[in-house]
């Protein structure tokens, strides 16, 4: 039962990532692209967690945590660059 639920959720998240990719390619504004990339990062974290449940191993938690942190820092840095033309002033 859990196997079927995990498969369903993985397909949902995969479809969501495809939609994010479409928005990332289409834009139209820069802020849209940042938002799409940030959402893709969050969906990738979900995918990692689901993969752990599917395989029954807990080796991807550090990767998921790192991806959460790096994704957040990257998004903030890109927004800061758009706002001020510089990241570290």
């Amino acid at each position: 039962m859990i196997e079927i639920a995990v498969l369903f959720t993985i397909s949902c998240v995969g479809l969501a990532m495809a939609l994010n990719l479409w928005r990332l390619a289409k834009g139209p504004t820069q802020a849209d692209r940042i938002l799409a990339l940030d959402t893709m990062t969050i969906n990738a974290i979900a995918l990692m967690v689901l993969m752990q449940i599917q395989q029954g191993s807990a080796v991807y938690f550090e990767a998921a945590l790192l991806l959460a942190m790096v994704g957040f820092v990257g998004t903030v840095a890109y927004c800061k660059f758009l706002l001020r033309g510089d990241i570290i002033e």
Binding site: M1, I2, I4, A5, V6, F8, T9, I10, S11, C12, V13, L15, A16, M17, L19, N20, W22, R23, G27, P28, T29, Q30, A31, D32, I34, L35, A36, D38, T39, I42, N43, I45, A46, V49, L50, Q52, I53, G56, A58, F61, E62, A64, L65, A68, M69, F72, T75, V76, C79, K80, L82, L83, R84, G85
Partner: protein, 137 residues
């Protein structure tokens, strides 16, 4: 194969999480302007990922007998950073709309802002604001 109550609970949370993740990204793809598109990923997708993490948090102690607090860390971090991300993206969008830097036609968001109500203007536009007719940098 009979499914215990824990399995049913985990499966239900997983399906709900997948549904929310899909709805959030669907909103990102379908909504008309950026300020409406912000709602989907920042709230709904965060909830979807939170559901997946909760399912993982129940699954590993119940099925494998191992406990770890990593999921709680990821959940806490995501829930803390989602509003900050949304705020930064909205500020960057406002800035670019006000200065006319985006090639896309204006969505009118920067002109329809209410007064800030504290005597000075909006902090996003402070200092660097020029007329929209200025050439983009």
């Amino acid at each position: 194969m009979d499914a215990g109550p824990v399995e049913i609970l985990i499966s239900a949370i997983l399906v709900v999480g997948g549904f929310f993740a899909l709805v959030g990204s669907w909103g990102l793809a379908r909504m008309p302007t950026l300020m409406t598109r912000l709602h989907g990923p920042t709230k709904v997708t965060t909830l979807g990922v939170g559901s997946c993490l909760i399912a993982s948090m129940i699954y590993f102690p119940a099925m494998q007998g191992t406990f770890s607090a990593h999921e709680l860390l990821i959940t806490l971090f995501l829930f803390l950073t989602a509003p900050i991300t949304a705020n930064m993206i909205a500020k960057a969008h406002l800035h670019r709309q006000k200065r006319g830097l985006d090639a896309e036609p204006m969505d009118g968001i920067a002109d329809s802002l209410p007064e800030s109500g504290v005597g000075t203007g909006w902090a996003t536009f402070a200092g660097r604001l020029t007329e929209p007719s200025d050439p983009p940098r």
